[in-house]
């Protein structure tokens, strides 16, 4: 069983909502990333999205663009991040890890080789914001046959009639984008966010997570009865940055969020 699936099963049994955090890999270095991932696991974070830096991150706002840029300057690349994940798995980390990356990184690596490397290193899922459903054939074929790495589907507030197609065969969880555009727009959710999330929830066979613009558990109060969890990216990165990427700060933030998310 895939680690994400396993975790989702546990959450369901416990009646809990998930917390998913995002961090750009390699800030300030990959050792720090390891410490933060260990801290996330200790704090009960359910999935971590690990951002692979890319030169042209069109789905990201200024904060994550800047993070990507700095990581690249620090020499971070996908090969090193694979190694980092493999090392963490070697020491027994069971936290589900999803790569968030752009398709050129996969293409450049070689799609087949990339899929094999994900399985080998222990990467449980992929989020590729510039790879819409229609272009997924190539990578889906390479991921097929193994339940180890899932391609996570993204849904947008304007997906409309596309929703059933996107959700057919979705695995792990579905990532509902809360607003149009890029990451990091401070809880400025789309005006029809509630009805759209409801529509997704009705159709989805996997848990429904909402991301983009979320800062604290309070931000998702209005939709907590619909969604199965929240994804925090830009705000989490800002917290890390403010606290010099100390693992304790990450741990504290996750604990608090997870507690507030599940206080009812």
């Amino acid at each position: 069983m895939n680690r994400i699936e396993e975790r989702m099963q546990k959450l369901k049994e416990a009646g809990e909502k998930a917390l998913i955090t995002y961090l750009t890999a390699g800030l300030p270095d990959l050792e720090a990333t390891k410490d933060i991932l260990r801290a996330c696991e200790r704090a009960g974070c359910d999935v971590v999205e690990l951002g692979i830096p890319f030169s042209d991150p069109v789905a990201d706002g200024p904060v994550l663009q800047e993070a990507s840029c700095r990581a690249i300057r620090g020499g971070v690349n996908v090969k090193k991040v694979f190694r980092t994940v493999a090392e963490l798995r070697g020491e027994g980390l069971e936290l589900p890890i999803v790569f968030m990356l752009y398709y050129n990184t996969v293409l450049h690596y070689g799609v087949e080789a990339f899929a094999a490397k994900c399985r080998e290193a222990g990467v449980d899922g992929l989020i590729i914001p510039d790879l819409p459903y229609e272009e997924q054939g190539e990578i889906s074929r390479c991921l097929e046959g193994s339940e180890r790495t899932f391609l996570i589907q993204l849904v947008s507030p304007v997906s409309g009639e596309r929703i059933p197609m996107l959700l057919k065969g979705a695995k792990g969880f579905v990532y509902c984008v809360s607003s149009m555009g890029v990451t990091g727009q401070d809880a400025d959710f789309h005006r029809e966010v509630l009805s759209y999330l409801t529509r997704v929830k009705e159709v989805s066979e996997v848990p429904v997570m909402m991301g983009f613009g979320i800062r604290t558990a309070k931000d998702v109060r209005p939709m907590e009865h619909i969604i199965d969890g929240a994804i925090v990216g830009t705000y989490f990165m800002k917290q890390l940055e403010k606290n010099d990427y100390r693992a304790e700060a990450a741990e504290e933030y996750c604990r608090k969020f997870k507690k507030e998310l599940n206080c009812n």
């Binding site: 830096p53 890319f54 030169s55 042209d56 991150p57 069109v58 789905a59 706002g61 663009q65 840029c69 690249i72 690349n77 996908v78 090969k79 752009y102 398709y103 050129n104 990184t105 293409l107 450049h108 690596y109 914001p129 510039d130 790879l131 819409p132 459903y133 229609e134 272009e135 054939g137 190539e138 993204l154 849904v155 947008s156 507030p157 304007v158 997906s159 409309g160 596309r162 996107l166 984008v177 607003s179 149009m180 555009g181 890029v182």
Partner: protein
Amino acid sequence: MNQNEYYGAYGGQYVPESLMNTLKELEEAFEEAIRDETFIRQYQEYLRQYVGRETPLYFAERLSNFCGTKIYLKREDLNHTGAHKINNVIGQILLARRMGKKKVIAETGAGQHGVAAATGAALFGMECTVYMGEEDAVRQALNVMRMEMLGAKVVRVRSGSNTLKDATNEAIRTWAKTAEDTFYIIGSAVGPHPYPRMVKEFQSVISREAKRQILEMEGRLPDAVLACVGGGSNAIGMFADFIGESRVRLIGVEAAGKGIASGEHAAAMAAGEPGVLHGMRSYLLQDEDGNVKLAHSISAGLDYPGVGPEHAYLRDTGRAEYVSVTDTEAMEALMTLCKLEGIIPAIESAHAVAYAIQYAKKLREELGEKEAADRRMIVCLSGRGDKDVNTIADYLAGKGYLN
């Protein structure tokens, strides 16, 4: 993969999910519009009355004598706003209006597309925002001024290399956020489907006219047509009507910057490998990690690390050939054209002129003087060089040309 959206292995729609419905809507509206006679008539009327088409196919006699072969220049530099970019803008903005959009956004490198977009927006009373790399905004300050005079807002993009690539990223980000009421006017034959097809459709007027004109003047087709290639909009327009004429050589000229070997160039097809950027799969300059490499060219309009997907396809199938010329070669050709023909070309277009001169030399060597003198080529003079006067002055000062 939907084959309709591809040119062989290139093209596609590599955009966030939030833009997929927008692209579908756009494709439907575009296909419907180009089948609607009223729309086409309206487009042609604006090209005639406002843009000033048709543009001359000018026989450059002194340049021809200098080169020992017949060279015709397709004078896109004589269009309103000074380049071929307006052909496409008029088409897309009419489509935007037809779709009920009130706002348009555009990216720009040299500023020619930005000026054209600002012009079109003024003409139709639409709100226009142009994204331009900070570095380009400096080297093309005159065009920034023009856009602002035309009522457009110019956003100077400070990210990555501060050039066209980054301006395009920012335009895509804004579009993904505002697609519900905003139309994105892409200026080159790049981007997700249906943009490459749409830009080709609206630029193909170049080769439609040129073909008819050369048949009138020469009674036969040209042996070769040449155009510079950044993203490839003037080139695809210049090639369009000749693609089916197998005896006509199609030659695209990329920017070799300081030389391909120096690594500082913008020749995606000479030195790139297939990748994904700006919603399309095509040749792309990238480093060993798959990050997009900075392009370099003295010409802002060619300073782009990718290329339109149809060019990638024409290259792989061998229907078109792609060569490159350096900054220095382009600048020398620019001066040659100034002095021989009294035409100051854009630095972009000077790349095509530079290769025309080299190609003529090759013809003389391979075929002999007599045979070469009977050959005819058309060079797309995509834009005029007024915008480049500062760059040219700096270059000449550095090289001591004016002494």
